[in-house]
């Protein structure tokens, strides 16, 4: 409820009745809207997930943003600016979705900048070559699309609608990434080597993006029960490998996993075990670029403080 101008309607049901009603609505595939009753835990999980997702989009601008000035031709330059710009848009749409649950952007940004909130670990890896723009677009955005397509069907209306908008744009991100990978993989030997090096660095961190095994994921069950997630981390990860591995191999690229092979019996690509020590290490803030990313975000936030203040002050002086 946005308008504080009227008395909120009082809900006289017992908590058990409310919960039963809520779960029945989820079971019927209805969307929960701001103003509808929801369990505190549903609200809490959503704010955590959505704001984390928003932070990921915003921090995610940095690794690719670093190559905007270096894009190798004008077309690629326009595409990369537009791509990084879209990620800002995604952060913007997602903060909005979290705001409908009562979180403010000031609070959420503070949580990010003070290190309380998490964001996707993938953005704590460095971009070292132009080929990384291809790998990120194809692998990282590709992985994100699988997750986001699922979330576009989630039970919370504003989150689902933000996702629909985001998914439409993500396809452009993945496509431009594929375009770079294909160009380099089929280009000169040096370009192909550059591309291979990039795949070597991004493959495993991308698989980690889907999160811990379902058995080790503390939130999975409740998220699935309430229709926030409809697929498990491992299901999504498998879908990603099944789709991506054969495509990369068709380009003559090697995937840095000696255990990777097609299993005719399961009709899935079998892949090796993820290095979970590395995963948790990066989550805990010890990845190669955690400090740089946070420094960059804090810098932008603090440099912008006088700007935001001045704009608000002008409104106060001249428009109220």
């Amino acid at each position: 409820m946005y308008g504080a101008t009227v008395e909120p309607i009082e809900d006289i049901r017992t908590d058990a009745e409310k919960l039963a009603g809520f779960e029945a609505r989820i079971a019927r595939g209805e969307k929960i809207e701001p103003g509808d009753w929801m369990p505190d835990e549903y609200r809490r999980q959503l704010i955590r997930m959505i704001s984390q997702h928003a932070h990921s989009e915003v921090v995610g601008m940095l690794p690719e943003g670093a190559f905007i000035t270096r894009a190798p031709n004008l077309r690629r330059k326009l595409i990369l600016i537009a791509k990084v710009q879209d990620e800002a848009g995604h952060g913007q749409y997602l903060y909005h979705a979290a705001e409908t649950l009562g979180a403010t952007r000031e609070e959420m940004l503070d949580a990010l900048l003070s290190g309380k909130a998490k964001y996707s670990s993938i953005f704590n890896y460095p971009t070292l070559s132009w080929a990384d723009m291809g790998a990120i677009g194809w692998l990282v955005d590709g992985a994100a699309i699988l997750n986001q397509t699922m979330l576009a069907r989630c039970s919370y209306g504003p989150y689902a609608r933000a996702m629909v908008r985001i998914c439409a744009e993500e396809n452009f991100h993945r496509r431009q990434g594929q375009d770079i990978v294909i160009t380099l993989a089929l280009g000169t030997p040096e370009q192909k080597a550059m591309m291979q090096d990039s795949i070597n660095r991004w493959w495993w961190p991308t698989l980690m993006m889907f999160g811990p095994h379902d058995t080790d994921s503390s939130n999975s069950a409740v998220l699935i029960r309430w229709g926030i997630k409809t697929k498990t981390n491992d299901e999504l990860r498998q879908a990603f490998v099944d789709q991506t591995a054969p495509e990369l191999m068709a380009l003559g690229l090697t995937i840095p996993d000696p255990d990777l092979h097609y299993d005719a019996a399961t009709e899935h690509w079998h892949f090796g075990e993820i290095n979970w020590d590395e995963f948790w290490n990066v989550v805990k803030g010890n990845g190669p670029c955690n400090a740089e990313r946070m420094t960059a975000r804090r810098q932008a936030h603090e440099d912008g403080l006088w700007v935001r203040e001045a704009m608000a002050a002008y409104t106060e002086k001249y428009q109220s």
Binding site: A4, I9, D86, N171, R175, Q176, Q178
Partner: protein
Amino acid sequence: MTDTHTRDTQWLRYMVLHQEREDKPHQHAGTVHAPDAEMALLNARDVFVRRPECVSLWVVRADLIFTCTQEELALHPDWIESLQPSGNPVEKYYFFAKLTQKGQFTHIGEVEAQNPTHALKIALQAYPDTHGFAWWVFPVKAVLKSTPDDIAVMFGPAAVKDFRDQANFHALSVLRKLMRKQEVEESHES
């Protein structure tokens, strides 16, 4: 760490309502943060019209929107009946509804009323066929709108930014060709 939170302002929230074509109603797009309505309209263009199509944008302070859902209404079937005009001067309100589960809030019409709840009551009576699942009402005078003159200037440029269009990447067809070739080779080998 930082004390920026206490000092920080991310400005006000404005709802953005977006019209794709003249023959379609305005629909909710999202929000923008802006210090005032004029900046909100500019920001709305940059945030929500990076791709065509758009012929009109409206922005309205989010805290001026009165919202109500079907669930809230169902809890108190007699609540809507009990709503009375407040004796304030009559003004025009926009009425938006979410018509399908998956849908977006959509412009249904206008009503004249003395306050937001009264406006909701009248709107639900005036548009009995378009109830849907949740509603917004807000004063017409609270809305800042783009003008027809803005179409070329604000929304035209998105149409020529074809580098954002995923249809312009031919990677996939190259990839498919490669994969088909490989399949043929493999079937020859076996």
